[in-house]
Amino acid sequence: MTATMINRDPLARPAGRLEPSRRGTGRDAGPFVYVLLCLLLLFALGPFVIFVFSALKSQSELATSPLSFPHEIHWSNFVSAWQQANMGAGLVNSVIVVAGTVAGVCVIAGCAAYAMARLNLPGANTYITYLLVTGSVPTQMFLVPLFYLWTRLNLYDSLFGLIVIYWGLFSPFATLLLRSFMLAIPRELDEAARIDGAGEIRLLFRVILPLSAPGFLTIALVSALSAYNEFLIAVTFIQNGALLPVSTTFFGFQEGYTQNYPLIGAAGLIMALPMLLLFLALQRRFIDGVSSSGLAGI
């Protein structure tokens, strides 16, 4: 279950309200609570740590002592995994897909949110309902016709075709989130700019875009994470081995001839590392963005 792209009208909850505040409920709980929290911590990180250990072991060491810290560290696993799993090509394809998805979603959702929030779009509420409804149609329902439509349009087995699907899937949520950012910008700023003779385009680029930059950063992060990690669409629409994004490249390696778990671990870490670093660098915006995508509007 991944929840990154669920639509709710983000009217009410301005992003950024999810930040943990210092005001809590005051008194500190006893050590027992810390023990339980640490157990949850063990559940969250333990399997991943064991995975990291296994990526650094030799196959024979993994077989004899699977859970322990590596006796001898085999950095060469990463080199072998990189080559054997073809991770370089996968990462390049993923970078293309992520960049195309993020750029497209920002343009599409940016335009639509601007129209809904600032241009007095007639029937804006109808559009919101439309986005909520089409955004909650399960992908599985339209997967099969979409597949055959894409083969007819020659978009099957092309990175561009994959990117277009991601635009369609991720833009509705991004629009609703951006709209709430743009609604928060004071109207007086528009009026002032209009009196100074600014047209719609200039207004957009000079006033609205700079002020809604945090919103764009949020939707860019959420779309990037979703596009990079996405599996169902990627495995369905890309067959050509040279075009596989990293998720299906790694899946193919995992399923393939090899049962070499250290190499699978190394390849998995190579795949996870870019998003992990991005997450740790921008964790607050990540958490705000992803969690508001789950319940914005409540």
């Binding site: 500190d28 335009c111 089409t134 149609v137 439509l149 964790q283």
Partner: protein, 299 residues
């Protein structure tokens, strides 16, 4: 009358024209979103409704067969088994991750130190790609390595253990999200309420039950609703870890649909499964809306 309208018309028309132009511009800004959405989501969804009423193989032409696909689904043991697995899956996700999320979030509101650290650590599995999460756990559950070896079981290869094992793997990547969302909701609860409850002698559990839970009910209800919907759409972990096996023990609606569409070449039948999945989501949402209206909830 006409005399009073006539002079008023000229200025109002002058104001009207820019308004209409602005509406057109607004429309132009909406157009890319509507066009992409129609191409990717709306068009294929509508044609799925049509194809579900045909015997389309995915290639060539489709023959209208009315409700035959749906009638066949009603007596297809594979389909009924998949529905049952989805129901079990829903029950698991309504209980285990919800409890972990509520507990984790509530405990985090009760501590002063390391709150951010715990929150980030709990969230790390959520940002992992499903393929990586699957690899992490395949390694752990393998009967030759890891926990599988220690316990002497092959969880993913057993008809009775495979479904719970896949659910646990999915939960690993999921519950941290619930902690973060519940925590955000709990931090909006008025601290005075807790003080009042404490004065009335309520312990930690009493405060949770009487103050926290009612206060975060909108978030709780929404996540419960989403849990049900997502549970019926679940695909990645089952497909990656077991492909529905062993012997159909982990087949869910999504994997069945996928097999019918792309292996058995029964695109019409697969479309019918997709329509049923959408209908289940729709019914869940409608039920919720009706209940909400009856009870007068705000959300």
């Amino acid at each position: 009358m006409s005399a009073t309208i006539a002079p008023a018309r000229a200025p109002s028309r002058r104001r009207h024209r820019p308004a209409r132009r602005r509406a057109l511009i607004a429309w132009a800004f909406m157009l890319p979103l509507i066009a992409i959405n129609a191409l990717v989501v709306l068009g294929p969804s509508v044609s799925a409704l049509y194809f579900s009423l045909t015997d389309w193989s995915g290639l060539g032409s489709a023959r209208w067969i009315g409700l035959d696909n749906y009638l066949e689904l009603a007596s297809d043991p594979e389909f009924l088994g998949a529905v049952w697995h989805n129901i079990l899956w829903t029950a698991f996700f309504l209980v285990v991750p919800m409890a972990m999320g509520l507990f984790g979030a509530f405990a985090l509101t009760r501590i002063r130190r390391f709150r951010l650290l715990f929150r980030v650590a709990y969230f790390v599995p959520y940002i992992m790609a499903t393929v990586v999460t699957a690899a992490v756990w395949k390694n752990l559950l393998s009967p030759q390595l890891g926990i599988g070896k220690v316990l002497g079981i092959n969880a993913l290869g057993s008809t009775s253990l495979a479904l719970p094992a896949v659910a646990i793997v999915n939960n690993w990547a999921w519950w941290g999200f619930l902690v973060v969302v519940f925590l955000a909701a709990m931090q909006d609860v008025n601290p005075n309420l807790y003080e009042a409850a404490a004065l009335d002698g309520a312990g930690a559990f009493g405060q949770f039950w009487h103050i926290t839970l009612p206060s975060i009910r909108p978030t709780f209800m929404f996540l419960g609703l989403m849990t049900i919907i997502w549970s019926f759409l679940s695909f990645d972990y089952v497909y990656i870890l077991t492909q529905g096996g062993p012997a159909g023990a982990t087949d869910v609606l999504s994997t069945l649909l996928y097999r019918d569409a792309f292996t058995s070449l029964r695109a019409g039948y697969a479309s019918a499964i997709g329509v049923v999945m959408a209908a289940i989501s729709g019914i869940v949402v409608l039920t919720y809306l009706v209940v909400r209206k009856r009870k007068g909830w705000a959300i």
